[in-house]
Amino acid sequence: MQEGTSTLPLNTSRGLIQDGDTVLLRLPNGDVRSIKLEKDSTVNLGRVGSFNASDLFNHTYGLTYDISGKKLEVIPPRSIQEVEDTEATNELINDGEFVQPLTSEEIETLKKSGVPASEIIKRQIEQHANYSLKTEYSKEKYKKRKEAKYSKTFTTIEPTLFNVCEYWFKKDQSRLRDIRCDTLSQMLHLASVRPGGRYIVVDDASGILVAGVLDRLSGDGRVISICDVESSPAYPVLTQLNLKKEALSTVLSSLNWATADEEYIPMLAASGTSREVKSERQKVRASKRKAAGDSLVSVREELFDGEFDGLLVASEYDPLSIVEKLSPYLAGSASIVVQSPNIQVLADLQSQMRQIPHYLAPAVTEVWLRRYQVLPGRTHPFMNMSGSGGFLLHAIKM
């Protein structure tokens, strides 16, 4: 965030780590942990070690730390190093040969005596019978594998929308309904989410869609999310974005499929006023009830007044029923974006929407993303790739 902006910054923690933030930590083996940092609490990373959470406060994200004892030491970022091509091949290397005289017990003893990871790996290499036969590429792979096993380092990951989405997608993509980073960014663009805009979001995808819109708004704009539960919806994805509560409550409001229905009569507002107030406690309760009722009434009014700039949907329910229910509240020319892990759902939706004149050009697309290993002489797509980020339908409200 820039200083001196008139809007309330929703996410002031981006950039420096603060007390109470939930941070993502990447371990040497590539695993990512999500940890809430509380002042003077101990963070335990298992094999990698433990440290005092406060030691990370006011640090920028993206740094790599080495844990020695319980102290953190920032280590410089690694640059790419040259690998010399040699004549070596695996012609004389056979599987199952006894090559490593250093036993796991001996390695364990070394680790306990505080010998650094780099030293253990060096000794393993020295004693490895066939190490010199390996190609340079193979040696690099070997070292990297050992590094992942023994090194006591971790890296903080900045909670950008991309990184948070990637973390959740890797953790359990079904909870995001297959919304991958590329899917999410395409949805935000297709809906033309801009600071100051007003959006209706239906998110049964752990809050990734709500998180995306909130992140793009950065405190300036409005989101009404519609959920399928009585109380306010749990959007676990929001945790990692470390949004400020006050700013969040002015931007995001939630209704459910009952309260978002124009026929619905709010119980709270009807019963809250006539009761006689007895004790202080009841007074507080009554005023809370009244506040909740008032806020519900005003959010409903806001929804029904319409003229929203876009509708974004990732839901387990029939998409046509959602789109038909909410499109009356969209402004002319507003975008409708619906995501589904299944093509059949959107193919049906498209064929139905085509027949309704107020939807212009519903189109179904599939998202596709491929990541590459970029090593000189070894640049190629990763052997494993994410199979699906789901499908999107985009249409314009007429």
Partner: protein, 417 residues
């Protein structure tokens, strides 16, 4: 940026949607006319209409949709000055570079301004974009366009070759996007422009793998980390409504019936020929009859063959009671609906809805919705090479020779130059 009012005003940019493949920008200037093969329209008639209206042509039968401009529609409608960036790449780059409200961003080159408009939208009034274009005519056009679109306050456009002269800001921006033929020449300049108090990001957009390798090498030498590369595409799906697939038992029955009919016909023709032969033999003399016999036999053999084929075709039309043909028409009707939607979709009102009574009525046919990827799609745009730059103090330390070369976690190797 563009109008956020409910209705169209004079001077507004609107996007005219004629068909999916014909989307045009229009600056509303009362007094002027907009003419297309879909009819003629007065600009003045658009003023006061809500955005998203369908407008009928004057006197004609055509119509257009007038839409509120978005960077995504602008990308479809904009005048091409160069090869442009499309949605999939723009969205992914924006996301990886963490461009959002208030971000400060550099873009080089400006090109046709597709990325510029998208980024100007995303960063909002509190952010800023510095855009550089080395081609003078393109620069001038972009300058006029940005002023006209009301983004000149958040986009600083400079006519400059950044590979030679660098950027106009230092220690300022959160992200740099390079769409240049030789991005490696701008990497050091980019490093200067990026702010040093936090993690910053860069993306280089190159169509060729050779460019990627040189870029990776330059980024590494400049101290960038987390170097990675992606390719992203959008695969459009072709959805159509087709008759429910028939079981082979129907085909079998049809073929058997056709064969039975053909055989019947053949027998009928043989009987007919014999009858005629007998008749002629009775009517005419013996000598002439021998010649006639040969001729008519020849003709009949041919006739059986042609009748057989013709009969089969005829059977299909008859026996399938026109449903197959009608069904095919329905499927074909759906396609234009996809392009022009609103009006043409009325052509197929009942066909695509599941009709429970259809079978009983024997008239309506059951349909299914199917989807497939189009036969030819965009297979490659560019490789997206990304990297991070950590705060200055650390980068300095990193550029020293690595402390433990033998055992360091070697993720990548430098291209030997």
């Amino acid at each position: 940026m563009w109008s956020t009012a409910r209705t169209i005003a004079a001077g507004d940019l609107v996007i005219v949607w004629l068909t999916r493949d014909l989307v045009q920008p229009l600056y509303v200037a009362p007094g002027k006319d907009f003419n297309s093969k879909y009819g003629s329209y007065r600009h003045a008639d658009l003023v006061g209409l809500p955005y998203g209206s369908k407008v009928r042509a004057r006197g004609g039968r055509g119509f257009i949709h007038v839409l509120r401009p978005t960077p995504e529609l602008w990308t479809l409608a904009l005048p091409h000055r160069t090869q442009i960036l499309y949605l999939a790449d723009i969205a992914f780059i924006t996301s990886w570079l963490d461009i959002r409200s208030g971000s400060r961003v550099i873009e080089a080159g400006t090109g046709s301004g597709s990325f510029t408009h998208s980024t100007a939208r995303t960063i909002g009034p509190t952010g800023h974009l510095w855009s550089y274009e080395f081609h003078e005519a393109r620069f001038a056009k972009a300058r006029d366009e940005f002023a006209r679109h009301g983004i000149a306050d958040r986009v600083t456009l400079t006519h400059r070759n950044v590979c030679k002269e660098g950027f106009t800001v230092e220690d300022t921006v959160d992200a740099v996007f390079l769409d240049l033929p030789a991005p490696w020449d701008a990497v050091e300049h980019a490093k200067k422009a990026l702010r040093k108090d936090r993690v910053t990001r860069i993306c280089c957009f190159s169509p060729c793998m050779e460019q990627v390798l040189r870029t990776v090498s330059a980024l590494n030498e400049a101290g960038f980390t987390d170097i990675t590369m992606y390719e992203t595409l959008i695969r459009p799906q072709d959805v159509s409504v087709v008759p429910k697939l028939k079981p082979i038992s129907e085909v079998s029955a049809r073929l058997k019936e056709a064969e039975r009919r053909r055989e019947e016909k053949r027998q009928r023709q043989i009987r007919e020929a014999q009858r005629r032969k007998r008749k002629r033999a009775e009517e005419e003399g013996e000598g002439e009859g021998a010649i006639q016999k040969e001729e008519s036999e020849g003709v009949e053999v041919k006739k059986v063959k042609t009748d057989g084929e013709g009969g089969e075709k005829g059977d299909v039309v008859e026996e399938n009671d026109g449903q197959a043909v009608e069904g095919k028409d329905a499927a074909l009707d759906v396609r234009p609906a996809q392009d022009a939607t609103a009006s043409t979709s009325a052509v197929v009102p009942s066909k695509t809805e599941p009709q429970p009574d259809a079978e009983e009525a024997g008239q309506e046919e059951e349909t299914i919705v199917v989807s497939k990827t189009f036969p030819e799609v965009r297979g490659h745009t560019s490789y997206l090479t990304f990297a991070c730059l950590l705060p200055a103090a650390l980068v300095t330390r990193a550029s020293e020779p690595p402390p433990s070369k033998g055992t360091g976690d070697v993720e990548m190797a430098v291209v030997a130059e």
